[in-house]
Symmetry: C2
Subunit: 672 residues, 2 copies
């Protein structure tokens, strides 16, 4: 039976081959003018330089954790951890390399061949990222699970060791998300505040010294960061489902999520062929079609697998619940953050009375936007639990992520189209080129909302499933919140996402400050820039963003890894359980609040720029820009990082649980 894990991992190889074919196809497309080649190479070099330095700076961290794992837990767990970290690195590198090739070719296609071809290239670029992530994810989990078994570990022992792979994926994802998030926002703010506001030049103007850094930022934050993020979710929920499935159904329970994900990969590959638009059709429809096709195919797989492996359709039902929950949250996200709905329009309305009311109403929308997603999640949890117990919750999150190949493709397509627009601007291509990329980009924004819904929903469910696995690993029969040790843990855990958000927000502030200073310096010391006679020092700005993002990501990263370890040692396994639960609750809320408030401000600004409330340049617009600037670190740095934070903390606890069982609770012993 366990050899099916090998079959599942073959689907990973298929995904990787498909990604490779797509990448090759993109590579063969014409790049465009020399100017386009030049600009594009700047972006590509900047992005690669960042990733290289980022991963280099993490070598020490990875090595230390590896040694700790080998010494205190199990050398095999250490090896799994290394593989997880390596796979995450590879997914980031390869996905981004292709994304930075696809963007310039999208711009060129929009110029030469029009919408359909441009859509196809941008989407193919995203699909490479998507297929690489899911391919490496299932390959790692499935293949390692099989090997560990063949090495003589029983399945549940193998699953335990496999958590090391999850730890590798999660810790690199956190650094990737935080580092990338800081980079992109520092560059964005630097480019906007000095270039657009102070110097008065348009967005993506080649005279802006921070313009390359800004475009690099879109790639390292939105493409690589997001890829690492979803790689982590994908792997985390698979591992949790395998662990809990073994308890509930034996080996069949472990194979079901693996084969389901394999089916999802096949479904996603087929789905990509349905993403086609002609010049007159709406690219939105094309993307939706692809998503629907892959979802329906995957559900078909789900029915067959559930019937054969679990003996009834219960497995299918919880997968369906997961998909519905994800779609609902996505839809709700859209209601709170799209300018088609009243919430964003109200924020735009409040911008009439200045920045203060803009901020208050945006925060209020963000806070309010937690209501229905939480209700949907809570109901989804109860429902899947009532169908299949705690295993059902894990399966719901696997179900949500089963079509991640497609979801990521659609998600990563957005920043590629956005970047294509930037390149068109910088290379002074005709305005109708920008028109096409803008249309592609705006479609990306809408579809991305659904992706976000899946990201948040699956994060919550996966964290919950990992939490259940932790309880099992720590031999806890329950975690009683009437126990003050647990309550103390919950309070501290609840506080961590607040502290973490504050750190990441301040990090963006510091990095942006350095960037602002540098852009100002260049304008001041090189007057030729504004006249267009001197080329600005793009590399210096790229360098500043890189250096300060890498410096600033250290502290939040360490907080995430160390706090559960300290809590386990001081408060014991039950206190740590409280900490995880507190972090889970406040983390999900903060993540939803910050992401949605940020998205709502962003679109309120765009709504005004579309000509409402006096349009661009008026006082309401200025107020809306303040809202958008506050929202930037909310939605692109702090918010999405919290999703990873809660899972990383749980997986750290899960991996180190044996240690806490033996040595934990030092503070409690002192107090006694």
């Amino acid at each position: 039976m366990i050899s099916y894990a090998g079959i599942a991992s073959i689907s990973g190889i298929i995904a990787l081959i498909f990604a490779f074919i797509l990448a090759n196809k993109i590579n063969k497309v014409e790049v465009g003018t020399n100017r386009m080649k030049e600009i594009s190479s700047y972006i590509q070099e900047g992005a690669m330089a960042f990733l290289t330095r980022e991963y280099k700076s993490l070598v020490l961290f990875v090595a230390s954790i590896f040694i700790v794992l080998c010494l205190f837990i199990n050398p095999l767990t250490g090896v799994c951890f290394l593989v997880g970290a390596l796979f995450s690195t590879f997914a980031g590198f390869f996905g981004m390399k292709v994304a930075t090739k696809a963007n310039v070719r999208t711009a060129n296609a929009a110029k030469k061949d029009g919408m359909n071809k441009a859509l196809s290239i941008a989407f193919s670029g995203g699909a490479v990222m998507g297929m690489t992530v899911v391919g490496l994810g299932i390959l790692g989990v499935g293949f390692l699970f099989l090997i560990l078994y063949k090495l003589g570990n029983d399945p549940s022992e193998s699953a335990k060791i496999l958590t090391g792979f999850g730890l590798g994926a999660s810790s690199l994802a956190l650094f990737g998300r935080v580092g990338g998030g800081i980079y992109t926002k520092a560059a964005d703010v630097g480019a906007d505040l000095v270039g657009k506001v102070e110097a008065g030049i348009p967005e993506d103007d080649p005279r802006n010294p921070a313009v390359i850094a800004d475009n690099v930022g879109d790639n390292v934050g939105d493409v690589a960061g997001m890829g690492a993020d979803l790689f982590e979710s994908y792997v985390g929920s698979l591992i949790a489902a395998i662990t809990l499935g073994l308890i509930a159904y034996g080996i069949n329970g472990a194979i079901f999520p693996l084969l389901l994900s394999a089916g999802g990969i096949i479904g996603s590959i087929i789905g990509t062929f349905f993403v086609k638009a002609d010049e007159k059709s709406d690219p939105h429809k094309a993307l939706k079609m692809g998503t629907y096709v892959s979802s329906i195919l995957t559900m078909g797989f789900g029915i067959v697998l559930s019937n054969n492996l679990l003996g009834d359709l219960k497995g299918f039902w919880v997968v369906l619940i997961g998909i519905i929950v994800g779609m609902c949250i996505g839809q709700l996200t859209e209601i709170y953050t799209s300018s088609d709905y009243s919430h964003v329009q109200k924020i735009a309305n409040q911008s009439e009375t200045g920045p203060a009311t803009t901020i208050i109403s945006g925060l209020a929308v963000g806070m309010k936007s937690t209501l229905w997603p939480i209700m949907v999640m809570a109901f989804g949890i109860l429902l899947s639990y009532s169908v299949l117990g705690i295993y059902g919750i894990a399966l719901a999150s696997v179900g949500m992520l089963s079509t991640a190949g497609m979801t990521i493709a659609v998600d990563a397509y957005g920043p590629i189209a956005d970047n294509a627009g930037g390149i068109a601007e910088m290379c002074e291509l005709p305005s109708d080129v920008r028109g096409i990329t803008d249309k592609l980009d705006s479609v990306g924004n809408t579809t991305a909302a659904i992706g976000k819904g899946f990201a948040i929903g699956s994060a919550a469910l996966a964290a919950l499933a990992l939490f259940a696995s932790y309880t099992a690993a720590a031999n806890l029969s329950g975690i009683d919140i009437t126990n003050p040790v647990v309550i103390s843990g919950m309070l501290i855990g609840g506080m961590l996402p607040f502290l973490f958000s504050s750190m990441t927000m301040e990090a963006v502030g510091k990095a942006a400050f350095e960037m602002i200073e540098e852009v100002r310096r260049q304008f001041r010391e090189m007057p030729g820039i504004m006249e267009g006679t001197t080329k600005p020092d793009y590399a210096k700005c790229v360098d500043i963003s890189t250096a300060s993002a890498l410096k600033q990501m250290v502290l939040p990263g360490i907080l995430a890894v160390l706090s559960p370890v300290l809590a386990g040692l001081l408060l014991g396994t039950e206190g740590l359980g409280g900490l995880l639960a507190g972090a889970l609750v406040s983390g999900i809320l903060m993540a939803i609040m910050m992401s949605n408030a940020g998205g709502a401000w962003d679109n309120a600004k765009k709504y005004i720029e579309a000509g409402n409330h006096g349009g661009k340049g008026g006082e309401p617009h200025k107020a809306a820009v303040v809202g958008d600037t506050v929202g930037d670190p909310f939605k692109d740095t702090s918010g999405p990082s919290i999703n990873i934070l809660i899972k990383l903390m749980t997986i750290v606890s899960l991996v180190f649980a044996p240690l806490f069982v033996q040595y934990g609770g030092i503070l409690l012993k002192i107090l006694k």
Copy 2:
């Protein structure tokens, strides 16, 4: 033994007599010029009109809850609820009546007799509020406990019925805090935005139509709202300690918190005599002296009582822990919100780059400021639990609030001094009068930080103690967070403070909007106002604030009362326990975050106004004003209301626990 409850309630009568004597003393002091009498009568009438309408509008609510209690729980619980609501009403009325008398007399004394006399009157005004609150609190709890016993209920049954009194206090406190908070901020924003910014007239200028409403707001929000708030905390922690004390120590365990609070009242009364300053001394020292004297006396009582009633000093130790935790949180609050420290200075610094960075850094400070208070609280919880079990946690909160008579006096003194300054301005008294009241006011702001620390700390501990009482009342042997029903409850509970904050913030926005419109209308339609020839229509502004505050407080209030009832019925007692725990964790965090961010923005603005970063009128100042405006609903409406929200939800659950035990968990039954 239980007759000691009667002795404790005698201390309540002493406190009320003392309050009455102080009020009489204030009444006899000269009011001042006719103009002062006129302005003061406007404020007093406005404040009283608000309270009257507020309490009238709550009659229906109180009556419905009374009927529900009589029908489903116990008629005696219903009666206790009525008494609690009545006492809360009385405390609000009487305290505010005296405060609105004290403010004008403080202004007059500052004009005629100087600092010492002005301090004495302002402080006496605050002390009336303080003594009324603690007097009514202990009288209600002690006397009702005794009567219920005499009526034939055993002590633990009596304690159960007594929770009705807590419910009355808490529900009125919530409406008072929310209604008052909306009122004060709507008036404040209206007065500031149109008067100061648009019309360019100074603060508290009599030509501003909203100026009276603004001053009324200080009273209904900061005096009456705060009084009802602390009345609720005081009563809640006493009831929780009695309930848990009966379990741990029998009747002695119930008598100890009562007599300790009685000792605290005597200590506070003696302490008030030490609040004396001469013209050259620092009023800060005088207030501190009073606080120290009452704390030391109360601790002396604590030693004697602990030894005699509990047989050792353990009771004293946890009281001491409570006091130390409260002081630490107060000190930490000061570090994050006073301009003497780096956090506020950093926000002021960030205002150099505009409102967006001001907002980001203020939010970051608010989020960061949760770290140490939570750590202190968690450690305090663990420590007091290790000394005296769950009863120890309840006693720590009783200890923190034992000197509430003094804490409230110091807290309520601030707005009285602030109001006195406003009256001095409106009546065009010489500028040195304003100098004295400003000095008194600024001292009030510092001492208020410590009061806030006690409010937050005691809210957390009291909620926790009530939570433990709920578990007992619902016959739960534990609440297991690995149970998905509990996790779902926690997620929903954690979401409620977010939803609640969003509602209160939007309420302030709506009420402020109506006020802005009205002030603009008056300036437009009555041009004589600006020339000083026409008197603005103050009453209309007062009326608008009143009406919209009362309208807007309904929804958040109902949310607070209904959500635990719905959760209990749908999710059962354990799910409700999860909901309470989730609300407790996210509520405390949001309360600290919002209060501290608001305080920090406020003081960053004042720091700039003191001449830093270009002083008043510069661009940094404008940015700081945006921060302050965002912070206003944070610190004066949403933040402090959340403290009550979490306790009210817990006490609702506690009172209705028998109902949920019998009929709860409907949704779970359907899902099965």
